[in-house]
């Protein structure tokens, strides 16, 4: 630990870092997503053309990453609320962090087929 830093490492700090990073990523995607959806106001063809890129394998992988960021931010956000409002929250923040990670791993495993199945069929044939 370098001298003179407020950063303390471990679950507390790294969950805070990951919450920031995922939050900023999701917010930037949100700008793009409102813009691409706004194309429904331009023409059905233009909208469908842009949405077609969302169905390519590379973007499907990015979608899986987006789901990973959103699920972590959502679950850890609930943990932050518990730390702030539940009287025993600060004492159990570590346990809650690992619960978040456990639920996240399960949900991410469940999301593999629905989110990436289409890309797999495109790449390897069905």
């Amino acid at each position: 630990m370098p001298a003179g830093t407020l950063y303390r490492g471990r679950e507390g700090m790294w969950s805070w870092v990951a919450h920031r990073v995922t939050g900023v990523l999701i917010f930037f995607f949100l700008f793009v997503h409102v813009l691409d959806t706004a194309l429904v106001r331009v023409s059905p063809e233009d909208y469908d053309k842009v949405v077609a890129t969302y169905k390519t394998p590379i973007v499907a992988l990015l979608e899986y990453g987006l789901v990973a960021a959103i699920l972590f931010h959502a679950l850890n956000g609930l943990r932050v609320i518990a730390v702030d409002f539940w009287s025993k929250g600060p004492r159990y923040q570590k346990q809650m962090f690992w619960t978040v990670m456990g639920v996240w791993v399960v949900l991410m495993a469940g999301a593999i087929y629905p989110v990436l199945g289409h890309a797999a069929r495109v790449l390897f044939g069905s």
Binding site: R20, G23, F27, F31, R41, P44, V51, I70, A74
Partner: protein, 160 residues
């Protein structure tokens, strides 16, 4: 020179409470920044408290709205491959999904904008950098919220 106000306890009334009582025989020292009738009104308001509370309340609502959105768009009924103009038209024919998407747009944009405001305040060290970055953030946020709202309210399934 006018006489200074004194009470029986020998301490002036500025800080308010009586100093010695039977239950409290030792001198009571008030917190240095305790607000009394004489302290000036705060000029700052409670914006940061409101923003902090908004992040938690909107966060809970967004968990439901966004995970529902992901299930519909990416998981159920063929996942992303079903999405197209016809799918959007079908969903926005229902006021339920219009309100869902409108609420999600406003809450997510404000939640994200407040989050990025915090990030800018934390990492941009010069006052002018903070000012410009936040000006850009607020402009982009207002434009995006207005654009999205306009699209939801003026959507026309028979545009072609």
């Amino acid at each position: 020179m006018s006489t200074t106000e004194t009470t029986a306890s020998g301490v002036g009334p500025v800080e308010g409470a009586p100093v010695y009582t039977v239950d409290n025989p030792a001198p009571l020292i008030e917190a240095p920044r305790k607000r009394t009738k004489k302290s000036p009104k705060s000029t700052r308001g409670n914006f940061e408290l409101a923003a902090w509370l908004f992040m938690r309340l909107s966060g809970i609502v967004l968990v439901i709205l966004v995970i529902g959105h992901l299930l519909i768009q990416l998981v159920l009924d063929g996942g992303v491959s079903k999405i197209g103009f016809a799918f959007v038209a079908g969903r926005w024919a229902s006021p339920w999904w219009q309100v869902w998407d409108l609420l999600m747009l406003w809450l997510a944009m404000l939640h994200g904008a407040n989050g990025l405001r915090t990030v800018i305040n934390d990492y941009a060290e010069r006052a002018s950098s903070r000012m410009w970055l936040k000006a850009l953030l607020y402009t982009a946020t207002v434009w995006t919220i207005l654009l999205g709202t306009l699209v939801i309210f003026t959507f026309d399934p028979n545009i072609r």
